[in-house]
Symmetry: C2
Subunit: 370 residues, 2 copies
C-alpha cells in the first residue's frame, strides 16, 4: 500500500512524488460535457470505471445522471458496490466458481450485471445466482468487430440469449456490443465505418433474439473514441465511455471531426527532478513503475520543449533541448500518461486539486483480482 | 489493496487469478547459485530489491550471505528496514527535503546509503542527516556509460567525493558504478566491451578520489546481465544483481557465454481463461494491468504452441494454432512476464509455491513514493 501522497487542504507543491493527480475543474467539465451529450441524445450513460477504479469519481458520474457504471473485474464491482454505487455491470466474462460466488453475493446488495459468450457458462452463472438467492443480469457479448471475446453476431447470440433467459436465477438483460478496436482508429471516417459494421452486427443479433421471443431491453457499448457514432446509429440504448474524464496521450492522437478535442487532459503524473547530469538531460522520479507504457511514452505538460524520451524502473529521462536542464534540478513537473487505464492501476490514490490547493485524496481500487 | 490471492497450505489450483506466483524450488536454486558465484569471487553481494520489493525475499538473500540489499526509493528502504534488513542502499539520487528527512530517520535504525551526483545535494543531505542525528553513507554516482544519472568519471567524481567527505553527517562511502544500459546488450562480447569501458571510468574515478586523499572502500554496481564481467575486472568490490532470482522474457533473450541460461525462470503470472470465442483464440484474465509491457509481451509457459499475442486492460489474447482453444475454457495457465521489475510492482502479494502446494504469501512494497 502506497503512502498517502498529500493531505486535503495542503498546497499542491507539498504533494509527494511520483503521484497521480487530477485537475478537478477540468475533470468536472469533462464529466458535464459527456453527461449533457448523452442526455441530449436520449440515451443512458453507464461510464466505464475500469479507467479510474475510483468509487469517488464513479459517484460524481452517477450524480450527473449516469445510471450506474461498468467495471471489468468482480473485485472492482465489490469496491464500487461497497461505496454505494447501486448498479454495476462487469463487462467481462466470469467463469471461475469462486469469482461467480462473489459476484452473486454482490447481486444481493445491488443490481449486478455480467457478460456471457459461452453456453458452458450458463449453468455456472445460474448455479451461483440461485445459491446466493440472487438474480444476475446477464448480457450476451456479441463480437461486433473487436475479435476479442464474444459470440458471432446473429443466430448464435439468439441461441445463447434463449439459454440465459431459461436459466433460473438469471435475467437476460440485453446485448453487449463494444467495438474496442475502433476506439483508437485515428480518423473519424475509419471510426464511423467500424461502428457502422458493428451496428449491422448488433441489429442481426437483436433480431435473432426477437425471433426467439425475447425482448432486448438494452444494447450497451461504445467508448470515448466512438460514442458519437453509436449515438448516430440509433441502435445502442446505453453508452460506456471510460477515458473521457481524463484523456491521455493516445486519445490525443485521435483526430476529431472538427480537429479539436472535445475533452481536455485532466490527469497527470506529478514527478520530481532529482538529477540534471548534462545540459540537455534531466532525470525525474517517474519511470516504468509510474506509467503504463503500452501506448508509448508520457508527454511533458509544463515545460516547453522538454520531452520524456526514455524510462527505466524509477527514472524518466527528459531531453531539454534548450540546454538549461540544470535549472530543473529539484523542480516538479506534470506528465501526461500514454494510456490512462493501466496508469491509474499503478496508484493506490489519486489526488484531486483545484488551482494551487489539494481538495481530495481518493483511494483507487487498483490491482483487483477476478 | 489487493485481495490476498491464496492461503499458505492450500493447493496451487485454489490461487485466485490473476496472481503473481513464484516457484520456490527454482527461486532458491537461483539464490544459491548467485550467492556461491559471488562468494567464490571474494566479493560482496548486495542484491537489488527493486526487482521484488519484497522484504521476505530480501531476507532470504541476506540469509545466504548478502551484506544487505539495494532499493530505488526511500519508501522501499523503509519497508525493508521495518522488516529487519539492517543495511540498505538507495541506488538513486534523493533531493526532495521531505524524502531526505525520511531517509535520515531510517539511518538512525539501520545502515542507509544513498547516491549523489550534484554538489547542490550535499548541503541537503548533510542538513537532513545532522537534523536527525544520523550518519548517511553517500556514494558518488559516476556515469560509467549508462548516460542516465551520474557525474562524468574522473576529476568531477573526486571533487564531489571531497565535498561529501567534508560535510557533517555524511560518510563518503565509495563509488556507484552501474552500467544499466549494458544489462540487455544481447551478446557476451557486447556486454564485456561495455563493462571494460565502465571499468576504465571506475578506475579513473577512484584515482581522482585517492588523489584527493580519500579512501575508496567500495565500488558497487553490476546487474544480472553483466556481473561476470564486473567480477573479471578486479575493480568492483560489491555486486547488485536484481533479476536473477526470477528472470523474465527479456533476460531470456540475452545470449550467455555457453549458450545456456545460468538462472531459470521462477516467476509467473497465473491467469484464468474465461473465453474461447474461436478455435484458435482463447482470452485470459491477465492484460495490461497484470504485466508490464515495456519489454514486450509475456510468454505462455505451460501450453505448447499457444502464444500471448495481444493485450487490453484486463484481457490477454492467446493464439492457439492447434485449433483446440475450447479445451482451455476455464483453465489456468502460467505466463512469463516480459520485464520482472515493473510487473512485480503491479501486485500487492507474491505467492510462493512448491510443487502443488502454496507455501507462502508475501507482501510486496509496491507503488512506493520517494
Amino acid at each position: 500500500m502506497q503512502r498517502v501522497p498529500a493531505r486535503p487542504g495542503a498546497p499542491v507543491d507539498t504533494i509527494d512524488t511520483p503521484a497521480l493527480v487530477v485537475d478537478l475543474d477540468i475533470l468536472e467539465a469533462n464529466l458535464d460535457a459527456m453527461a449533457a451529450t448523452v442526455r441530449a441524445a436520449g440515451l443512458r450513460l453507464r461510464p466505464h470505471a475500469k479507467s479510474h477504479k475510483c468509487p469517488a469519481i464513479a459517484a460524481m458520474q452517477v450524480a450527473r445522471g449516469a445510471v450506474g457504471v461498468c467495471c471489468q473485474k468482480t473485485d472492482e464491482a465489490a469496491a464500487l458496490v461497497d461505496a454505494g454505487i447501486g448498479d454495476v455491470l462487469v463487462t467481462n466474462e466470469v467463469v471461475a466458481p469462486v469469482k461467480l460466488a462473489r459476484l452473486a453475493e454482490l447481486a444481493r446488495r445491488a443490481r449486478v450485471g455480467v457478460l456471457c459468450d459461452d453456453a458452458r457458462a450458463v449453468p455456472l452463472l445460474s448455479g451461483a445466482s440461485t445459491a446466493a438467492g440472487a438474480t444476475l443480469d446477464v448480457y450476451v457479448e456479441a463480437d461486433v468487430g473487436g475479435h476479442r471475446c464474444g459470440v458471432a453476431p446473429g443466430e448464435a447470440v439468439g441461441e445463447l440469449a434463449r439459454a440465459i433467459a431459461d436459466a433460473p436465477g438469471l435475467r437476460f438483460a440485453g446485448l453487449h456490443c463494444y467495438q474496442g478496436a475502433a476506439q483508437h482508429l485515428r480518423t473519424p471516417p475509419e471510426r464511423r465505418a467500424a461502428i457502422e459494421a458493428a451496428t449491422r452486427a448488433a441489429v442481426a443479433s437483436r433480431d435473432a433474439c426477437v425471433a426467439r421471443g425475447l425482448r432486448v431491453d438494452m444494447i450497451t457499448g461504445a467508448g470515448t473514441g466512438t460514442f458519437e457514432h453509436e449515438i448516430a446509429s440509433g441502435v445502442w440504448t446505453e453508452l460506456q465511455p471510460g477515458s473521457y474524464p481524463f484523456m491521455d496521450v493516445d486519445y490525443a492522437r485521435n483526430v476529431t471531426a472538427d480537429g479539436a478535442q472535445r475533452f481536455r487532459q485532466s490527469l497527470f503524473v506529478l514527478a520530481g527532478v532529482m538529477s540534471t547530469p548534462a545540459p540537455t538531460r534531466a532525470i525525474c522520479d517517474a519511470g516504468l513503475k509510474a506509467f503504463a507504457f503500452d501506448s508509448g511514452l508520457p508527454q511533458v505538460a509544463d515545460r516547453d520543449g522538454a520531452a520524456y524520451v526514455k524510462a527505466s524502473d524509477e527514472h524518466g529521462v527528459l531531453d531539454v533541448p534548450a540546454g538549461n536542464a540544470a535549472s530543473l534540478w529539484g523542480a516538479r513537473i506534470r506528465l501526461v500518461p500514454g494510456h490512462v487505464d493501466p496508469t491509474f492501476n499503478l496508484y493506490d490514490f489519486v489526488v484531486g486539486y483545484r488551482g494551487e490547493r489539494v481538495e481530495a485524496v481518493w483511494p483507487v481500487a487498483r490491482g483487483t483480482l477476478g
